[in-house]
Structures are given as structure tokens and as C-alpha cells.
């Protein structure tokens, strides 16, 4: 057989290609549509539709990948010693954070309040975040948006740092085809870098542009040597992530996670610690005595793009 096939010239094979069209065209006989088993067809199509609907419904009902809950999620970290006199709000918030860590994850809800009247637009938070999370070029978790109102000289300028809004109804989560991103019981939306396939659907779904993709670039890649500090692993999500050799999170979606790796060590998110104007408040919104809960009651507050229905959890004081 094989021998026969090999002796066929390309021209002959092309003729065969056409034969499917030529040979059958002469057939003008009545074209019988029977027998068609209608019951079989309807069952097949009905089952397919049923399966489609069922799988979608089940996917919506099934909770996202299990995250630890209960006592194992508590952390006992001794409070920071207060100095004499007025206590810096960072010390207060850090102690409140440690108090919140004594509770199980599902009983705390991390919240950020940003006072735009105190923000001077220094971008220190942006830079600190980049340093903390070892962010490569093109990846940014907390850019600061500048808003100009009015015309010079009757103009005011406001700054809106834009971390992830940790939405209560996150549009980025539902579009993920592989369940690589979900909202934790404490309110933080996270990404599992080991699961993410890098389709970037979540990037398009976030109205805040809070997700960026890691394209594998280095700041020093066009210099004689990529500097070792760029190859340092990041500690996001309490794991060590090395980007060397195209390792995750290269190719993944990345986003602000309120520095969960710091929080769980009793430290405030890096952007909050770094802010020179003390414009950021962070803590457990479920703790009525916390500073962040107090600030969240302010009447002069706003949220970004609330009309999108994402229920953002970052509050701006204006």
C-alpha cells in the first residue's frame, strides 16, 4: 500500500483532491432526507443545552478554591510599644492590625481609606510598592492619578493613588477561565500565580486598570548584565517567586494584594507605611474601634467608578 502511495506523483494526488468535487457532481438523483431520527436529534441537542446551562450554574455556585479559615488563620504578634506622648497613627494602625490578626480570617475585613487632602502626589507609595514586590518594568500596583480641576490660575490639583479596589463584586474574578483568582474571606482579591494561564481576560475586565501583566522584562536588560537585585524573588502571598527562567509570575496577571505577606507578619502594607503625608488608613473594617473604621464613616467620601457595580472597597476622602 505504502509503496503504491509513494509512487503517486504530486499532480496525480492533486487530481484526487479534486475528484471529490468532480465525481459526485453528476449525481442528480433525488436527495433523500429520510430516515432521520428526530427523537435522537432532539435528545442530543436538548442534552447539550442542558449540560451547558447546568455547568454554568454549577460554576457560579461552587465556591472558589478553598482558602484556610478558622483558628489556623489567626496570628499572635505582640503589639508595638507606644512611645511617650502622641502616638503616630502608623503605630496605632499597626497595633489595630495585630489585634485583627487574633481573629480568624473570615471575621476581619481589610479596608483602605485614602485622604486625598493629605496626599501631596510624591509617588513614594508607588515606588515603595515596586521595591517591596520587586515589580518589573510595566508592572505597577499603585500608580497615582493626577486630576486637575479648573483652569490656571484658578486650578486645583488632586491626587488619587490607585491600588486594587478589592471589590466586593469583582469583575476580574468571574471572567477567569481557570479559577486562578478569587476573593478571600478577609476581602482581598488574590491571584494564584501557579494556576494563572496568562489569558489577560481579567485585565480587560477591571475598569480601574488595576491588573497588569508581567511580560518578563527587566529594567537592566539592555545593559551588559541584568542586575542581581532584579532577580531577587518576590514574597507575594507568603511564597518565594523567582522570575528567572520564565518562572511565574512572568506571563501572569499581577495586582495589588494589600501586601498580604506583610499583613500576616503584623506589618502595614508598604504604601501605608511609606506615605509621608499619612494619607493612608488601613485596618480591619469589622473593628469598630479601629482608625480605618472611624475614617470610613466620614461623610466626605467617594469611591471610584461606583456606577460600574463592582462595589470597590477603597474609600477616598475628598
Amino acid at each position: 500500500m505504502a509503496k503504491k502511495q509513494s509512487t503517486k506523483s504530486p499532480k496525480q494526488t492533486d487530481e484526487v483532491l479534486r475528484s471529490a468535487v468532480d465525481d459526485n457532481e453528476s449525481s442528480d438523483e433525488a436527495y433523500s432526507l429520510t430516515p432521520i431520527d428526530r427523537k435522537r436529534a432532539i435528545t442530543l441537542i436538548g442534552s447539550a443545552i442542558g449540560l451547558g446551562v447546568m455547568s454554568t450554574v454549577i460554576s457560579r455556585i461552587i465556591p472558589n478554591p478553598a482558602v484556610p479559615k478558622g483558628p489556623i488563620t489567626t496570628h499572635k504578634i505582640p503589639p508595638v510599644q507606644d512611645g511617650a506622648g502622641e502616638v503616630d497613627i502608623l503605630v496605632r494602625m499597626q497595633n489595630e492590625l495585630r489585634r485583627a490578626l487574633l481573629k480568624p480570617m473570615e471575621q476581619r475585613r481589610w479596608l483602605m481609606v485614602i485622604d486625598t487632602r493629605k496626599c501631596v502626589g510624591c509617588h513614594a507609595c508607588t515606588v515603595a510598592c515596586i521595591a517591596e514586590n520587586k515589580l518589573p518594568p510595566g508592572v505597577v500596583y499603585r500608580p497615582v492619578i493626577t486630576e486637575h480641576i479648573g483652569q490656571y490660575p484658578h486650578q486645583i490639583t488632586r491626587f488619587f493613588p490607585r491600588p486594587c479596589m478589592q471589590c466586593n463584586n469583582p469583575s476580574c474574578v468571574s471572567v477567569c477561565p481557570v479559577r486562578a483568582t478569587w476573593k478571600r474571606p478577609d476581602g482581598v482579591v488574590i491571584i494564584d500565580y501557579d494556576r494563572c494561564i496568562g489569558c489577560r481576560y481579567c485585565l480587560t475586565a477591571c475598569p480601574y486598570g488595576a491588573r497588569t501583566s508581567d511580560f518578563g522584562n527587566y529594567y537592566t536588560e539592555h545593559t551588559p548584565e541584568i542586575q542581581p537585585y532584579e532577580k531577587q524573588p518576590s514574597n507575594e502571598y507568603n511564597k518565594s517567586w523567582s522570575r528567572e527562567g520564565h518562572g511565574s509570575p512572568v506571563g501572569n496577571a499581577r495586582k495589588c494584594h494589600f501586601c498580604l505577606h506583610r499583613i500576616e507578619q503584623g506589618l502595614l502594607p508598604q504604601c501605608v507605611s511609606t506615605c509621608i503625608g499619612r494619607a493612608n488608613y488601613f485596618g480591619d473594617a469589622n473593628d469598630a474601634r479601629s482608625l480605618v473604621a472611624e475614617m470610613a464613616k466620614s461623610s466626605n467620601q467617594m469611591k471610584l467608578l461606583e456606577e460600574k457595580g463592582t462595589k470597590p472597597q477603597v474609600i477616598y476622602l475628598v
Partner: protein
């Protein structure tokens, strides 16, 4: 130099049609392979898309190929069931066009993934609430179905009986028909569910995507039929075989698509406060105005004219070729402008980096990979058809 070029052109003109096509294919494949090698070495570093416009030309190619697949199947199978001459005898070819086009589209999106070797995760831990996972599963089921249908179709002995002797072919074709209409429409829904992008969040998108799919799918079938007729095509007339059926579908498809597009654009432009205006201005008068005016409108007008007025099948085939290639603009004009307007004003200026930019232009690597994907699709069809024809010949 010029004399050499002219002699090459003369040599090219003297070749047979198949050889000409092979030379043209090499012109796609060779640069395409170079692009692929660059991609393998550099990853996504040389791609032009970024985090604010995360989807570029490969995604447009993916949606176009998927559209051709669904459209070709729907048009071909309806033609087969209706007993349209030329389609009823060539169900295998319809199935192959559809499957090859779908595989080509999947290659395009696979190359676009940041972590392509994790694509299997869509199979093992899907979130059917995501249109992407739903589509991926639908494609897989469809491909399996096409495989079974191909098997039954090859085994079918009586050319004038629509069903095979097991009785499963037609029920499966009907199920395939449902899927082939569903997944191009879902491509529109894929964008439609993204509320973050106002231009995408429109109920007309699934209809536009389906119309585009049917039009380009019918054009692809016409082209394939013309190609398979070989030299016999010279004696064919546009009134023979499947040409009248496909011709009507293509013309109607173009008209319906432009009606839908006109209704969408005119509503937004008429309204004094429409938030879509900015995006539509970008499509009509932005950096890529020529994609809309020259490729999309120009291509459709020329294609429509040729198909409408064709006195010979060659003109018909040229028209179909223009439509099947220029209709990629129907994807590009939705995909790119939809991502190019920030919802959060000032975000573009907040942090300066090429990846954090709302202006997207494909890079050379992206164009080269696109050529590779097209060359792959053409080769896949050519060889699978050849293998199938040889198999059928042996069986007979």
C-alpha cells in the same frame, strides 16, 4: 535588478495555479517561522500589547478564524441538508474547513497566552462562569463531534441519502449546527460581558460576530470549492453548483453586518452625551482610520461589487477572497478601539511605560506570527484534505 524581478514575475505567471499558491504560501511561512523563533526566544517581550491594551492582532486572528470555522460549518451543513449541489457531495470538505479553521484560531490564542503550557488547566479546572472557559469547552466538544461526523461521512456509501446507515450523522450535524452558531455568537458575548469596556458592553455584538462569521465562512467555502475545482473552474459559471447559494449568503451577510454597524455607530454619534462617541471617533478618524475606511468599508464594497456582478467564477472567487481577508477588520475594529479608551481618566499619564499605554500598534513579531498562523491554517487544510482524499480513494 528590475529585469531579474520581471523575469521572476514572468516565471511565476507561467506556473500552475497550485504551484503559484505554494510559492505564495512559502512567502507567508518563511517569515512566519522566523517570527515564531523570535517569539520562542524572547517570549512576549517583543509584542506590542501591554497591560492597558492586553489583546492585540493575534486575538483578532483567533476570533476571525473561529468565526470562519462556525460560519463555514453552518453554511456548509445547511447546504448539505438542503441538498445544495456541490455542498451535498462535499460534506467532508465542509467539516475539514471548519475544523482546520478552528484549530488555526486556537493556535493563535495559544500563542497569545502568557503561560501557554498551562492551557490544559481550562480542561481540568474550568470556570464555566467565564465565557473563555465556556468557549474553550465548546470548541473541544465541537472538534470531537467533527471527528465523529467526518468518520460517519466517510463511511457513508449512498451519495443521495443524507443520513448514514447508523442514523447518527444527521442528529450530530444538527448538534454541530447549534454549536457552530453558538460559538461565533459567544465570541461577541465574550466581549459583551465585559462591563468595564462600554464599547464592548453591547447586545448587538453577538449578532455582529455571528453575521461576520457566516459571511466569512461562506466566503471561505466558496474559495475552497473554487480551488478544488482546479482547471474545471474555468468552464464553470456562477449559476452552477453551490455558487448561487454561497453568493446570496455572502451578499446578505455583508448587508446585514453593515446595517448593524450603522445602527450602532449612528445611535452613538447622534446622541449628544453618548460615552461611546470617543471610541467611535477613534475607529473612524484615529490612528488606524485606514483599517475602517480602506480595509473594512473599501474591502466590503469591492468584494460586494465583484460577487454581485460576477460573470465568471474567478471574479466570484476574488470577491470571496477579499471578503474573507478584509473581514478580519470586523474583529479588529471592535477589539482594539474597545480597549483604547481608559475608564479611569488620567491613568495613562499616572505611570509611564510602553506597556502601560492605551495606544496599541502591532510589532513586527506580531505580524510575523500572524503570517505563521495563516500559513499553518492553509497547510493544515491542504494536507488533511490530501490525506482524506487518499484514504477515500483507497477505500473505494
Amino acid at each position: 535588478m528590475i529585469a531579474k524581478l520581471i523575469s521572476w514575475i514572468q516565471m511565476f505567471n507561467n506556473e500552475t495555479m497550485l504551484k503559484k499558491l505554494k510559492i505564495l504560501w512559502l512567502c507567508l511561512f518563511v517569515p512566519g517561522v522566523i517570527g515564531l523563533l523570535i517569539k520562542v526566544i524572547s517570549g512576549e517581550r517583543l509584542a506590542g500589547y501591554g497591560s492597558y491594551v492586553p489583546w492585540g492582532i493575534w486575538i483578532a486572528v483567533y476570533f476571525h478564524a473561529v468565526g470562519i470555522s462556525g460560519g463555514a460549518f453552518a453554511v456548509g451543513v445547511i447546504g448539505y441538508l438542503k441538498g445544495i449541489k456541490g455542498l451535498r457531495e462535499n460534506l467532508n470538505t465542509t467539516l475539514l474547513v471548519s475544523a482546520c479553521s478552528l484549530i488555526t484560531g486556537l493556535l493563535a490564542i495559544w500563542l497569545d497566552l502568557g503561560r501557554p503550557f498551562r492551557a490544559y488547566r481550562v480542561g481540568i479546572s474550568p470556570n464555566f462562569g467565564s465565557m473563555l472557559a465556556f468557549n474553550a469547552w465548546m470548541y473541544s466538544i465541537f472538534l470531537v463531534l467533527v471527528g465523529i461526523m467526518l468518520f460517519l461521512s466517510v463511511k457513508r456509501r449512498q451519495a443521495n441519502v443524507v443520513n448514514d446507515k447508523t442514523g447518527w450523522l444527521v442528529p450530530l450535524l444538527l448538534l454541530g449546527l447549534l454549536l457552530s452558531i453558538a460559538y461565533p455568537s459567544q465570541s461577541g458575548a465574550f466581549f459583551g460581558v465585559v462591563d468595564a469596556k462600554p464599547f464592548w458592553s453591547s447586545a448587538i455584538l453577538p449578532v455582529l460576530f455571528l453575521t461576520s462569521a457566516i459571511t466569512s465562512g461562506a466566503s471561505a467555502l466558496l474559495l475552497v470549492y473554487y480551488y478544488l475545482r482546479g482547471e474545471s473552474a474555468a468552464i464553470d459559471t456562477p449559476e452552477q453548483g453551490p455558487y448561487p447559494y454561497l453568493r446570496k449568503i455572502i451578499l446578505a451577510g455583508i448587508a446585514v453586518y453593515f446595517m448593524g454597524e450603522f445602527s450602532e455607530y449612528s445611535l452613538a454619534l447622534w446622541s449628544p452625551i453618548s460615552h461611546l462617541k470617543e471610541t467611535i471617533y477613534l475607529i473612524l478618524f484615529g490612528k488606524f482610520w485606514w483599517v475602517f475606511w480602506l480595509i473594512h468599508v473599501g474591502g466590503a464594497i469591492i468584494g460586494f461589487y465583484l460577487i454581485f456582478n460576477a460573470q465568471s467564477v474567478t471574479k466570484l472567487a476574488i470577491g470571496a477572497f477579499i471578503i474573507v481577508t478584509t473581514f478580519i477588520s470586523t474583529r479588529l475594529n471592535i477589539l482594539i478601539p474597545g480597549q483604547s479608551i481608559p475608564e479611569l481618566k488620567g491613568l495613562n499619564e499616572a505611570f509611564t511605560h510602553a506597556r502601560l499605554n492605551f495606544n496599541y500598534s502591532p510589532t513586527m513579531v506580531e505580524y510575523l506570527i500572524t503570517l505563521f498562523v495563516i500559513a499553518f491554517g492553509l497547510a493544515l487544510f491542504y494536507f488533511s484534505h490530501k490525506i482524506l482524499s487518499t484514504y477515500i480513494e483507497k477505500e473505494n
